[in-house]
């Protein structure tokens, strides 16, 4: 499996994925280096290929870009965008961090929610954004996702969710931790109502999001080569003082160990999700 050989650029988590930010078009044809095959890809080609390199490497993608890619034209109707983070613990530097990230990411929080149609199938959708504090889950992320599952249960709609997250948001302390329980309870109610939830795990899906709604879907898909795990690889290395096995905590690794249903290339996702929605909607 060549995909197992993906090398993760080490600085991505540290830079909050900003090294992957869509490069603005300027004079000439700017290029972006693929961290897997190390080839330079012209930006226009990268965008035309939905941020996937010819070698199969999937670059990270902003939430709205993904919504544009997955949902039917003009069908997405955003919900809960009015909910904004405060600084409930008066955590040092949090407000300033939020303000900076809101400008740099163009989002006001780490998840975008709403209703949409995918291949003509009506559903609720949430898409997390790695460019907003590495998709960390604070109160607003928890509240938006919980509200979305409640709305979906009330209106008997399936939920499609794209996860990307470094885990809980430290700056919201216990309130952040409790979002794991809150979102899980909402997923359970939606599930008990007999409704479908499809999750697509994208790079990286870790920590408190893995240990809650990412792993609670009826059908769990993942993008090739994504980091999927609970504890951070570096923390594990430090704790156990052991070298990690090759391909540890990738989509391929978690599929091999039985924790996800399928790995799906970005170009195949819309078709597969449409099909899954149709099958669960009477065929």
């Amino acid at each position: 499996m060549p995909l197992l050989n993906f090398l993760k650029p080490k600085n991505e988590l540290e830079t909050g994925g900003r090294s992957q930010a869509p490069v603005q078009q300027d004079a000439g044809e700017p290029e972006k280096k693929c961290p897997n095959c190390h080839k330079d890809i012209p930006i226009s080609k990268l965008w035309a290929d939905d941020l996937v390199c010819a070698c199969g490497y999937h670059f990270r993608m902003k939430a709205r870009h993904r919504i544009h890619l997955i949902t039917d034209k003009d069908s997405f109707c955003e919900m809960y965008s009015e909910l904004r983070s405060g600084n409930p613990l008066d955590f040092p530097g949090y407000m300033e961090k939020l303000e900076t990230v809101q400008v740099s990411s163009g989002e006001n929080e780490a998840v975008v929610c709403g209703t949409a149609e995918i291949g003509g199938q009506k559903c609720c959708i949430f898409v997390m954004d790695s460019y907003f504090m590495m998709g960390s889950m604070g109160s607003v992320v928890g509240e938006r996702i919980t509200s979305l599952f409640e709305y979906a249960a009330e209106n008997r709609l399936p939920v499609v969710g794209f996860t990307v997250s470094g885990g809980a948001r430290m700056q919201e302390g216990l309130l952040s931790l409790m979002q794991m329980a809150k979102t899980s309870a909402a997923v359970k109610r939606h599930s008990d109502a007999g409704l479908l939830y499809v999750a697509v795990l994208t790079d990286p899906t870790t920590g408190g999001v893995t240990a809650s709604f990412a792993m609670e879907a009826d059908i769990i898909l993942a993008e090739p080569g994504a980091t999927v795990g609970f504890a951070g690889a570096r923390v594990i290395e430090q704790t156990t003082k052991k070298t990690l096995p090759k391909g540890f905590q990738t989509s391929e690794f978690v599929q091999e160990h039985g924790f996800i249903d399928r790995i799906v290339k970005r170009s195949d996702q819309k078709k597969l999700i449409t099909d899954l929605l149709k099958i669960h909607n009477g065929g």
Binding site: R84, P88, K182, S212, T240
Partner: protein
């Protein structure tokens, strides 16, 4: 102020504090330990079984750290593997089947970080507990008796009532981990401890726990008797409540809703 929060962290980690097994021995009559998750193995960091609270049959689950170096090593320092959480869930489902209330004692720095834990789905195991505990139709009371470390603690704390010992702590991340990630300096753990609002008083103010238990006579007969009496009283009330599961949902639903519009 910051020193105070970090002092609490040190107290919560003190290996002289009563551990899960101490609480089980002193509060419940005729405890019968039940092992294994029926899937992979038996995790020594989590002790589970059935016992009697006065005359009420209950299911008891405790994360156990041990006191001595030897005990602590045998208990993996109270850091459960996925099979521990799966054992706990198996026993909780059994409790639901037989209509027994569930009492959990929590004391962990967190779910274990290791290759095997990841291979066996640590995240999935915790997620499943959160999902399933939210609708178990028997009363659940969870007591944080030492460290309440993140998802590994929450996986036994989706309860109707969560109580904390006066010097226990409950946090999304260890103060050292937080300082190291945010400020690249684990020496700033004191500042992180204060910022994280992880003391029992903080948790109560945030609406995350209902009650703080005094430690003034910790470890004495009177101490355990007092906890036994509180548990009995609380279970009597919870057992009569026809809206138990709905109220548990609301208990977590309202946390973190005060967000600015």
């Amino acid at each position: 102020m910051s020193e105070k929060a970090y002092e609490r962290v040190k107290l919560a980690r003190d290996n002289q504090r009563p551990t899960g097994v101490d609480y089980i021995r002193n509060i419940f009559r005729s405890f019968i330990e039940l092992h294994g998750d029926r899937r992979y193995g038996d995790d020594t960091a989590i002790v589970g079984g059935i016992g009697r609270l006065n005359d009420i049959p209950v299911t008891v689950i405790a994360i156990e750290k041990g006191h001595t170096a030897k005990e602590r090593s045998a208990r993996n320092f109270g850091a459960p593997h996925p099979e521990g959480y799966r054992k706990a869930l198996r026993l909780m489902k059994q409790a639901e089947k037989f209509g027994r209330p569930i009492i959990c004692f929590i004391d962990t720095s967190g779910a274990y970080c290791g290759v095997g834990a990841e291979e066996r789905g640590q995240g999935q195991a915790i997620a499943e507990n959160l999902l399933e505990m939210s609708t178990l139709c028997v009363p659940i009371i969870s007591l944080l008796v030492g460290e309440g470390g993140s998802g590994g603690a929450l996986a036994l704390a989706v309860a109707d009532r969560v109580w904390m010992m006066q010097n226990s702590v409950y946090s999304v991340i260890s103060p050292e981990g937080c300082a190291s990630i945010l400020w690249k300096d684990s020496e700033l753990a004191e500042k992180a401890a204060a910022s994280l609002k992880l003391t029992a008083e903080d948790a109560k103010t945030l609406g995350v726990v209902e009650r703080i238990l005094s430690e003034k006579d910790m470890g004495t007969k009177a101490f355990y008797e007092r906890i036994r009496a509180m548990l009995c009283e609380e279970l009597e009330e919870l057992s009569k409540d026809p809206e138990l599961v709905g109220k548990r949902y609301d208990r977590f639903r309202r946390i973190g809703t005060k967000v600015e519009a």
